[in-house]
């Protein structure tokens, strides 16, 4: 789960990290008052959306008076960035910056540990720095049982600054950043840029935190930060029903059990010349209600021309899925052709249930996918 910039800044400030001031606003008038409260001559208005390239999309703008902030905010609020509507902006003072650095923590899959990373080349896309000038990124691998050790933090501080006072400030910030990362249950926490003010203070200007979804159950305060308004409603509906749904652009709606098989099914749709409309994993222990919700979500996409079920029964019982399909057709009009493949646990019972309502099931994955692609193109109905 991605946190908003303003939420991430708040978590870092609470951890004791000096964060440049900033006020979040939901209306242009609030944005004007925010600048007045900040009492600065120049402010930057930043769209709060979970999308990279905000600046390029016109979601970050400089303003030199409260009136201009109001005007700029009214342009940004309501605009769409990568399909997401902006409902909040963050107003921050336009900073005078002596230098820009980067500091971040990630969970590194290779070392199976949290890794602290700093770079004196901050401010811009750190992935690009990693790709083009990897020698400008410095790392410390953390033993998660002990946390970031003070000497590790100091060593990274010396990579950023030559002045001991700044090194100590940076080391202190890194320690607190690591603690904030652990407290939030994050898989990524970064400060970019980390700046030195003309007064010689090291301050976080922008922050990003991505929370591990598996942490949300035990961290209700973090889970409450989720901004449902900014998510695809179908994806929210799916999550509430314990399904994983990701919308794509094609016309073959897919309903599969298991993430790996769901991806392989999408790939096979492409292999046979079609385009998958979505990723949808109904998960392990199936119940018919989940299947009903899945069908509602898939049919809510007007692009879908055919619906493909690919079920390999293990924990998931084929008869549960069949009952779900039948229940859905009774609850609402499923006005798109359905191609069903199922095999494994309780396959025979499932076939009987489907035949009872005049539906047919295939046992072969390739045959089913090929047929679904053909049907979506306007070929013979299933």
């Amino acid at each position: 789960m991605n946190l908003h910039e303003y939420q991430a800044r708040e978590l870092l400030a609470r951890a004791g990290i000096p964060v440049a001031p900033g006020i979040v606003a939901a209306t242009p008038a609030d944005a004007r008052r925010a600048m007045e409260r900040l009492g600065v001559p120049k402010a930057v208005v930043k769209a709060q959306v979970h999308a990279g390239g905000r600046g390029k999309a016109g979601g970050v703008k400089l303003a030199e008076s409260p009136e201009q902030v109001e005007r700029v905010a009214s342009q940004i609020l309501g605009m769409k960035i990568k399909g997401l509507t902006v409902t909040k902006v963050l107003v921050v003072p336009a900073a005078e910056i002596a230098s820009e650095a980067y500091a971040g923590v990630i969970v590194d899959r290779v070392s199976r540990s949290p890794v602290l990373m700093v770079s004196p080349a901050g401010g811009i896309d750190i992935e690009e720095v990693a790709a083009t000038t990897p020698e400008k990124i410095f790392r410390a691998t953390v033993d998660a049982r002990y946390g970031l050790l003070p000497h590790q933090a100091m060593a990274l501080g010396f990579r950023l600054y030559g002045d001991l006072a700044l090194v100590r400030q940076a080391a202190d910030i890194l320690q607190k950043l690591y603690l904030a990362f652990v407290d939030a249950g994050a898989s990524l926490a970064e400060i970019n840029p980390l700046v030195v003010t003309p007064g010689g203070e090291v301050v976080a200007l922008d922050a990003k935190i991505v929370v591990d979804d598996n942490e949300l159950e035990r961290r209700p305060a973090i889970a409450a930060l989720r901004d449902v308004a900014l998510e695809d409603p179908a994806e929210v509906q799916a999550r509430d029903a314990n399904l994983t749904y990701i919308k794509l652009d094609g016309n073959v709606g897919c309903c599969v059990n298991g993430a790996g098989l769901a991806m392989a099914t999408m790939d096979l749709v492409k292999y046979y010349g079609g385009e998958p409309a979505n990723f949808l994993d109904i998960g392990g222990s199936s119940n018919p209600d989940k299947v009903v919700t899945a069908l509602k979500i898939i049919t809510s996409d007007p692009k879908v021309k055919a619906i493909l079920f690919n079920i390999f029964g293990g924990i998931t019982r084929c008869d549960d899925v069949a009952n779900g399909i039948v229940a859905a057709t009774r609850q609402f009009k499923v006005d798109r052709p359905i191609v069903i493949r199922l095999t494994g646990t309780n396959e025979k019972e499932a076939v009987k249930i489907l035949e009872g309502v005049g539906m047919r099931a295939l046992t072969d994955m390739d045959a089913a996918v090929e047929q679904a692609v053909k049907v979506a193109r306007g070929g013979a109905a299933a």
Binding site: G258, A259, M263
Partner: protein, 289 residues
């Protein structure tokens, strides 16, 4: 022969009285797996299905029954402690089926296990089956058959699909290992490839990967450097969009890394025969045996 699970496996089921644990304990018993003990705190002294003794702790179970392998079905919030408990009890193979374990917890588990003798498989995995001998986990027994193909996979049902196609074509398996789809897992592709290379009964290996991370690329380097046996590979997620978690916590393309194309290229460089679709597994394995 086989890897990780064989005739000597003596299994303790952690969470044997839970909804998932009890269902799969019955399935494992029906398959002929030597389930020697179960653990549910507070139910020590009882018996599961009138035969398997239940203990309050893994240490008691191991001391009383000589259990040397464990399988974990407890809810995610208890799973990490269950792994620690099994390792502390001297269990050598710990298979964690539970899904939803926070990745930061796994960063604490791995260095702990490195100082003990336990091998962890998972979390968030379907487990291991050595067809005809024993199954530890949830892989359906009836889709497998004994034979000479080793299978290792990050996925669950996709593994079943591939194994099912192998079995229908008369290509049995030595062992099938589902290593799990999380970003940090106990046993990697390389661990399994090395074990299959050393197993005299395995004549070919099928490796099923997916988008996200660099494990498949590293496995491909291992194949080039250390394997004589033929390897057939598949990567799921060629149509997956970047930046989205495709169900599995580990299946995410970050920036431009972890893509299917990158992994397939690494496979091809290593001489791994790449399946374009699951059904390709049969001709590709057949022609290499």
């Amino acid at each position: 022969m086989s890897i990780f699970v064989d005739q000597g496996t003596r299994l303790v089921v952690q969470g044997i009285t839970g909804r998932d644990g009890s269902f799969h304990a019955r399935q494992m018993l029906a398959y002929g797996t030597p389930v020697v003990a179960g653990v549910t705190p507070g139910k020590g002294g009882q018996r599961f299905e009138d035969k398997v003794p239940i203990f309050n702790t893994v240490a008691e179970a191991a001391a009383a029954t000589g259990a040397n392998a464990s399988v974990i079905y407890v809810p995610a919030r208890f799973a990490v402690d269950a792994i620690f408990e099994a390792a502390d009890a001297g269990i050598l193979l710990v298979v964690c089926i539970s899904e939803g374990v926070p990745v930061l917890d796994m960063t604490r588990v791995m260095p702990y296990l490195a100082q003990r003798s336990a091998r962890l498989v998972g979390p968030n995995c379907p487990g291991i089956i050595t067809p005809g001998v024993a199954k530890v986990g949830i892989i359906p027994g009836q889709i497998c058959a004994p034979g000479a193909v080793g299978v290792v996979s990050r996925s669950g049902t996709l593994t079943y699909e591939v194994v099912y196609q192998l079995t229908r074509a008369g290509l049995g398996q030595t062992t099938c290992v589902g290593i799990g789809g999380d970003p940090i897992i106990g046993t990697t592709f390389i661990d399994c490839l090395a074990a299959f290379e050393a197993d005299p009964a395995t004549r070919a290996v099928v490796m099923i990967g997916e988008i996200g991370g660099t494990d498949e690329q590293k496995a491909a380097e291992f194949v080039t450097a250390h394997m004589k046996k033929p390897v057939v590979g598949f990567i799921a997620g060629q149509t997956a969009p970047p930046g989205r978690r495709m169900g599995h916590a580990g299946a995410i393309i970050s920036g431009s890394s972890g893509t299917a194309a990158e992994k397939i290229a690494a496979f091809e460089r290593a001489g791994i025969a790449v399946m374009k679709r699951p059904a390709d597994v049969v001709p590709l394995v057949q022609s290499r045996l």
